[in-house]
């Protein structure tokens, strides 16, 4: 070991024993100016603020999630959890900046400008988010309901802060922004326990309507899917171009909708065939003038 190395090692040991590792950095360099004891303490404060904040926010959000999941529907619960998460993150950020001794007034000014820019950029997202609150207050649907929006029908699969997801009956995922739900007509098909199946029938003019009514009522009362109450609806609607137009409505429990639909329609066809009742097909009555034509010909022939 040469003399120069011995001197350097000796001075490093002395520095370490006097000022810790920071003393190893050259005092007039960039790293020396950045990594002061004060900066280290500030960094520790920031880290503690972030870690503690994350733990506290995590506990609070978990509690909110558990409480709301038990007492509210998935949509409301999800929105409340999301809002509390964003608020918590904002609080952690402010607290960390405060711990870092950052002048927040300047930052707030900058944040204002950035906010305007972000506001324009995130206009749609914010609109969707706020629309979500209106939807929650209206309680039009919840997870598991079957709804129709703009021609798309499906089971509500999930409800999120910005959109809802539907699972269509042919197993496709459809995402619909909350804003669309506010603006357009939403039909909740399974909101109520029972639905009426409306069957439009057109029968020929020679059909005995009393016998038809009796047959329809009888098949409805014999069908296991048709509810006994409310009673079926039978209404002669009009004398149409092709036959007598009728509305026959039977009530089904919402869970029996598909089976009931198939069963009732099959029963009607079977019963009509058995009773000799005919469905009216598009028909035209043609009046022929052939009876007069030969006379004209006869007159013409007599003259000649």
């Amino acid at each position: 070991m040469d003399e120069a190395n011995v001197i350097a090692e000796g001075s490093a040991n002395e520095a370490a024993s006097n000022g810790g590792l920071l003393a190893l950095l050259p005092q007039d360099g960039i790293l020396g100016r950045l990594f002061t004891m004060d900066a280290a303490l500030t960094a520790i404060r920031v880290i503690v603020a972030i870690v503690l904040g994350a733990v506290v926010v995590g506990v609070i959000v978990t509690l909110i999630r558990r409480v709301t999941a038990k007492r509210m529907d998935a949509r409301t619960s999800g929105l409340i959890v999301k809002v509390s998460q964003y608020l918590g993150l904002a609080l952690i950020a402010v607290n960390a900046l405060d711990a870092a001794k950052v002048n927040l007034s300047g930052l707030l000014g900058a944040a204002g400008i950035a906010g305007i820019a972000l506001g324009f950029a995130a206009q749609t997202s914010v609109s969707n988010f706020i629309s979500g609150f209106f939807l929650v207050s209206e309680k039009t649907f919840s997870v598991g309901d079957v709804i129709t929006i703009e021609g798309s029908t499906g089971v509500v699969y999930s409800v999120d802060a910005l959109s809802i997801k539907l699972r269509s009956f042919d197993n496709q995922l459809i995402r619909i922004p909350n804003e669309t739900l506010i603006k357009t007509r939403v039909t909740n098909i399974t909101r109520f326990p029972a639905r009426r199946l409306n069957i439009n029938l057109v029968v020929t003019y020679d059909t005995d309507l009393d016998r038809l009514r009796a047959a329809l009522m009888e098949l409805a009362s014999a069908n296991q899917f048709v509810l006994r109450k409310p009673e079926p609806l039978y209404m002669v609607q009009r004398f149409g171009d092709n036959g007598v137009e009728l509305l026959f409505g039977v009530w089904l429990a919402k869970e029996d909708w598909v089976n009931g639909n198939n069963s009732v329609l099959a029963d009607i066809k079977r019963r009509f065939e058995a009773e000799g009742i005919e469905f009216a097909l598009p028909a035209r009555t043609v009046h022929s003038k052939a009876a007069t034509a030969p006379r004209a010909k006869q007159r013409a022939a007599a003259k000649s």
Binding site: R71, M72, T76, K139, F192, P193, A194, Q224, F225, L227, R228, K229, P230, W251, A253, D256
Partner: protein, 262 residues
Amino acid sequence: MIWRSWPVPRNEGTAVHRTGGATLCVSIEQAGDGDVLAALVRYAEDDAPGARRAAQLVLPPLDDPAWSRYYSGKADHYELEPGYPDIPVCVRLHEPFRLPPGADLRGWIFSHLEAKLKVSHAIAGTFPLKKPFKTLYGSPDAGVICRFDEADFLASDEPATAALHEDPSLVAHPVRLRNSSSDPVLVEELCIYGEQLSVFGVGRHMQSERLLFVFNSSGVRMSLEGQGALPPGAKLLSRPTVSGEERFIERSFELFKAITRL
């Protein structure tokens, strides 16, 4: 009395249990090292009119989906237990009547039971003992889907009451109706929540607890009013699946949710 333990019909083909208008058929076939118990129910109204019941019983093959199949392992016995449908029963009275304000009326109604087929104390299937139809009790926007049934409102000493007691597919409900509103109410259907009720049996008679229906301005509510007058020697055949307190708490929470729209 069909409500007891029965040997698995390993060598006798299909076991047939007849109750009222329903016939419950139980059969068995081998599946691996164990057995599969297959059961189905037939209703008298589905039979061809005029056909003799015994001659009419033509069963589908055991691989037909009409059979409910349940793996029963090596069990030697299965039990038949009476039970209520898993949805409420709406009993429509054949002859509706008006109940004046303040009136307090006692009587009997009967409703149809379900047969619970159990293997090693586990439910292998439930079979309605009357062809099941549904109805809506209440309004279309807030009603309840119920099993439909029809009955007369009978007095204890009517001959019809004794005759109905003999039907093994029926359970008798001692009923008390009270109109606490200031207007007459029309009693045309009564909604029974079977999940809260027991079935007590004496010989072939079966009976539930006494039901109290209180009519007031906000509607009608069913509650239990003790066991009623049980005949001596009555034994418990089936317990309630939900206690009255649980049901009360559930209903209160539903009401709270409806009021607050939470």
